[in-house]
Symmetry: C2
Subunit: 407 residues, 2 copies
């Protein structure tokens, strides 16, 4: 009955089953566009620059007039006018003439180069003395040199960074078509779980998953919807997951590290629609008791109850799921290289995502693993990233270089 | 008159002049705490776990009862009760007895170890058969093992990640004392600048800096306040900067790559209060015409008008300024290692922050620099990071490993 998958199989199932998830699009203003996912390719609707312009502060000239000039034999050019920023020059350059032009100013007619102010001398006698020749095109950006009308500048599925928002401003695009944010339900189950607002009685413990998952969804750019802490029984879980499926794109149910509870989540998912459970258990440490299901195109994920395991599974598999569902590339996943500070034995047959704390040692990063004895609080307050240990590896050696996905 | 500084001098001036900036504190709920900066050290107010608990699904026992057990000679223990999650066990373990206990369940009195369910057999005859001995303390987490009441778990000045928010939930801390977000004014100057909503006439260009800086401030976690596009004259700049200084902690004035405008911004800063301008020009490429001033403890930064230069200076120096003003460590600055795809000559005497595009080649990252001819649009749509080229370097060689600060 159990369809335990390994890590790659799980990634493949996510890719196959949730690609092309139909997510609505919406318009947002540029000031609301940060980290949103573009829904369409964005092309330039005009040439940039829109006119021939100077790339330096200097003097617009006909290049031929400067040929042969040098410190000892400067070219003497008559000063005839000044280009003002933002204004069309109302004059043309004649042979033997030059005009002051600021960086970004429009090249006057007939000028084909700009001499940097550093290579000129101004004796205030109505002339400018050029002591270095320029070739045609020097210090000039021609109309359309930067981008041409019709050029693709940002592809669909891109997570917009500040500089990408700038490109749209430069092109006069003041609204952008983006995909709606994914809505993700957060449900904590467990008879022993109480809210952080309450004082645990007896051997109750506080709800941590609602808060790590809520914040993790915000960090990803999804919209979390919380459904509180519910009891660990079939009917309650079924009612809550059903409601969440109506209202959200993804339902995260954490809790139930024991086989019994996992079975209940499994039954709930299968009872709510087709195809139901796709993955029941992942051969991974931590987080083996993870379930991934699909109902009416939407995703239901059963996460382990242990907060460290739940968060690792969230960052590895739910991040991937969300990237796939919103049709974006995994740019969210920043990883850095570090070296292992100590040996880490890993003799189980499962692939492992090892939480580590990073510290800077000289110009390198050192990764200090958390051993299984490390408590939850240590993990939550100090984990900086995850090192993936492939199956078949006997562990990691001190000094070995590893790739650390930042948490 | 010009006090041009190099990069390190500028960082030092920022550190000296803006450390200890008085930023108010406020309480936020855990669900609003993501990426906020803690204002105080956070200590555990209780022990975690709050009781001795099992770390596996299995049977609570007195370890001595399992000594000498093996597959061929299992220890036979009488099953007496079951520990329920979240409930205090209402019984004690007697010699020769065992009780089922789930992961996270509270250890009954007298039990000192837990045998994993995998190492037992249940013949449903009222006994459990243990075929591997456990030592006292095996599979048990003792009260306070994870953290003790009074332990420091998160230091002041920490930028809160999802896992850090989880630690507070685990400890029953449902509100957190954070520093107020920095308010930063964004002012674009330049007679040639028009809004992206407008069609540029003649040689006007669109305002890009308002949008990259606005988004960049959001990405950092500051609160941007826009003051629009203003004309390039002393009185207008002075009035707007003065108003912005009243309302914000930091004022960013972009525009005026020419020496004339830079002088006006300089005069404005000096006219508004003491100590006035601290840095007038930074020996850096791009972004030499950068001004940093201080008025009544607040910061005014004059950024170059060119959007690529303005954004580079923002990411390098204004990020640093904001980290210092809010008393946080520079955790915002994620950098990755990459190798140069091509040679990059850099024969100027200034330190350089070279924008690069990153691409994955096998398991390494390759950095493709933008040459000075690369247009603004290319930079805005493709720049992934900055490589710092120290002064005195003749440039970078193809294949050379470099550190890339991600944009």
């Amino acid at each position: 009955m159990f369809s335990v998958k390994n890590v790659s199989e799980t990634f493949n199932i996510i890719q196959e089953q949730f690609s092309g998830y139909p997510l609505d699009e919406e318009w947002v203003n540029l000031t609301d566009a940060l980290y949103r996912i573009t829904a369409v390719d964005i092309a330039a609707q005009e040439n940039v620059p829109g006119f021939d312009r100077s790339s330096v502060d200097g003097f617009a000239v006909m290049a031929a007039d400067t040929f042969g000039s040098s410190d000892s034999m400067p070219a003497q050019l008559k000063l005839s006018g000044e280009v003002k920023m933002g204004e069309k020059p109302g004059f043309a350059i004649k042979a033997g003439h030059a005009a002051y032009i600021p960086t970004g100013g429009e090249l006057p007619q007939n000028a084909d180069a700009v001499v940097m102010v550093e290579y000129t001398e101004n004796l205030h006698d109505g002339y400018i003395y050029v002591n270095k020749p320029v070739a045609p095109g020097n210090n000039v950006v021609l109309k359309g040199d930067d981008t041409r009308c019709g050029d693709l500048v940002i592809m669909a599925g891109r997570r917009l960074k500040p500089q990408n928002i700038g490109v749209m401003a430069a092109l006069g695009i003041n609204r952008v078509r983006v995909r709606r944010k994914l809505k993700a339900a957060v449900i904590s189950t467990g008879n022993e779980i109480v809210s952080p607002d309450e004082r645990p009685a007896g051997s109750q413990v506080r709800d941590v998953n609602t808060y790590t998952l809520y914040s993790g969804l915000c960090a990803f750019g999804a919209q979390p919807v919380t459904y509180g802490i519910i009891k660990d029984d079939y009917e309650t879980i079924r009612k809550t997951v059903g409601k969440a499926l109506d209202e959200c794109d993804i339902v995260l149910v954490s809790g139930g590290s024991s086989v019994g509870t996992m079975d209940e989540t499994h039954r709930v998912i299968d009872s709510l629609g087709k195809p139901g459970v796709l993955v029941h258990g992942i051969a991974v440490k931590p987080g083996k008791p993870t379930i991934i299901g699909k109902i009416g195109g939407k995703a239901v994920v059963g996460l382990p109850g242990h907060p460290a395991s739940a968060y690792v599974i969230f960052r590895v598999f739910v991040y991937k799921l969300m990237e796939v569902m919103q049709g974006s590339s995994a740019e969210n996943e920043t990883s850095v290289k570090a070296y292992m500070k100590v040996n880490y034995p890993s003799n189980n047959g499962r692939e492992e995502f090892l939480p580590v704390k990073l510290e800077r040692v000289g110009d390198r990063l050192a990764a200090q693993p958390f051993f299984s004895k490390s408590g939850l609080i240590t993990f939550l307050s100090s984990a900086d990233g995850l090192v993936r240990i492939k199956r078949g590896r006997e562990g990691l050696n001190a000094g070995e270089e590893v790739e650390v996905v930042l948490l």
